[in-house]
Amino acid sequence: MPVYSEKVMDHFQHPRNVGEITDADGIGELGNPTCGDIMKIYIKVKDNKIEDVKFKTFGCGAAVATSSMVTELVKGKTLEEAEKISNAAVAEALDGLPPVKMHCSNLAADALHLAIEDYKSVKAGKGHIAKVETCDHEHEGLDELEHA
């Protein structure tokens, strides 16, 4: 099925860092089952660095692969470094994603940023942040394809 790059297939079939961290310092959850993808990222932070990271994802191949890739990219990174990682950078690290998936299943960096936000919110005594419901990719696909 070469709609996906080999790297995507590798991360889909051998996802890195799947699971939960029961005593996570930050959890970011993003998505909406109605649209197809939910990503949940757990981080363990030590000395301003992401010491451990795990994910759970409900979604398509791209959603799984981007989740896996983002965890690999940020492990050991400082929070500032992690915050700079964009969805586009994740897609690029996977040798690209099919156009149709670029905007819908490419949210893993956002989920990671939420986990960092959550960590900061808890640390600041403001408690956990809420899960973010996204469905901005719910659209008439055909409109996307307009020759316009």
């Binding site: 993808d37 939910i38 759970k56 398509c60 191949g61 819908c104 299943s105």
Partner: protein, 393 residues
């Protein structure tokens, strides 16, 4: 690794007999069927023969068979053709809510030209209630189109009852059925169904891509979708795809002869898969009618996981399936059919659509029912929804 096609609604492998019937028309008999010199003879005879073969499958006259290029074209010809021919009588069309997009989008695009349509609800098994048709009929209703059997959930409609209501209403409304999924697997006798128009797609029953079938009852008025020359009785212009039409005819003949054999082959495989999956995996549901169902369709919802992922893991095991999930659809929306039968949008993401064909064996079914549970398990372990459900959140 063996490839098991459990996605025959996407593609069936052409029969060797079909290919043989097509072969002469690629190079040797490359003439145009409309030519009155010798090069036109064999192509013209091939069209005639194929028309007879299709007519025999539909139980109609061969002059009532029109060849198109696809099931979608046949559906569009029915909907737009009848709408434009009869707009003086009215501009109201009735369809079911679970029609294929080639029907639904055709009626939607007609609304831009002032037509209106009613989309009928279906019950939880996907049945249109004939009473709903009766209630929806208006004086200005010119056309009713209900799919013969759903290409997602396999439910077979009572077209005969619906046709009777439509024709009994007495305003001359036409009845069309989209038989693109049913044809070749259950009876499509147009007299029995009582329809004025019927669409079918030979590529769905071991025929070639590039030929669609359209039954147009004598006396039924339509405007062509493709205007131009006199091909297909002036109903569909364009140089005929002789090879594909020749192949389509053979596919029709095979279908007619093998209908019982096909059902007998498919039913045990279908039953095994349904029974085994429902018993071996928890929180899995069958969509569509258990009894009034195509013998080659199975549609499950597997909770907490998403269709494309299931599909990719099965693909890895050599098993080709489809899904009604948003991620597998190019319009990024989950199946409108599942929505219509009341499946929650989130659940629809876990839809698994299996369509069987003559190349499938009971071994394939067993291999599949062994492969599926660990895949489901693996994906559920990765799913935040499953985690929440288990933790009782």
């Amino acid at each position: 690794m063996k490839t098991i096609n459990f996605d025959h609604f996407a593609a069936t492998k052409m029969r060797p007999e079909v290919k043989s019937a097509m072969e002469p028309f690629f190079i040797e008999e490359y003439g145009n069927a409309q030519s009155i010199h010798n090069l036109g003879d064999a192509p013209r005879e091939a069209l005639d023969k194929s028309r007879v073969q299709a007519a025999s499958l539909f139980n109609c006259a061969s002059s009532e068979v029109i060849f198109t290029s696809s099931g979608s074209e046949s559906n569009n010809l029915a909907i737009k053709g009848a709408a434009f021919a009869r707009m003086a009588q009215g501009k109201h069309i009735i369809v079911s809510g679970i029609e294929h997009f080639s029907v639904l989008n055709a009626v939607k695009s007609l609304t831009k030209l002032g037509f209106e349509f009613t989309a009928l609800p279906v019950d939880k098994d996907g049945f249109v209630n004939p009473d709903d048709v009766k209630n929806a009929m208006r004086k200005d209703t010119i056309l009713v189109s209900v799919t013969h059997a759903s290409n997602e959930i396999g439910t077979i409609q009572n077209i005969k009852a619906i046709s009777e209501i439509v024709h009994g209403f007495g305003n001359g409304a036409y009845m069309h059925t989209d038989a693109n999924t049913s044809c070749g697997f259950i009876e499509t006798d147009v007299k029995e169904l009582g329809v004025d128009m019927l669409s079918a797609a030979p590529h769905r029953f071991y025929g070639p891509k590039g030929a669609g079938l359209f039954y147009l009852k004598k006396g039924t008025r339509i405007m062509p979708l493709i205007d131009g020359g006199v091909q297909e009785f002036g109903r569909r212009a364009g140089t005929e795809n002789v090879a594909a039409i020749a192949g389509a005819g053979v596919a029709c003949e095979l279908a007619k002869n093998e209908l019982n054999k096909r059902r007998e082959h498919l039913l045990p495989i279908q039953n095994h898969i349904i029974d085994s999956v429902l018993s071996s995996i928890d929180e899995v549901y069958l969509n569509g009618s258990r009894t009034n169902r195509l013998p080659n369709n199975i549609n499950f919802v597997i909770k907490y996981i998403e269709g494309e992922s299931i599909l990719m893991w099965l693909n890895n095991s050599g098993i080709m399936v489809a899904s009604g999930s948003a991620c597998t659809s190019k319009i990024l929306k989950s199946s409108h059919v599942l929505t219509a039968i009341g499946v929650d949008a989130a659940l629809a993401q876990g839809s698994l659509l299996i369509s069987l064909g003559e190349d499938n064996t009971m071994e394939d079914a067993k291999y599949f029912t062994e492969q599926l549970p660990p895949i489901v398990q693996k994906l559920r372990e990765m799913s935040p929804l499953y985690e929440e459900a288990k933790s009782g959140k």
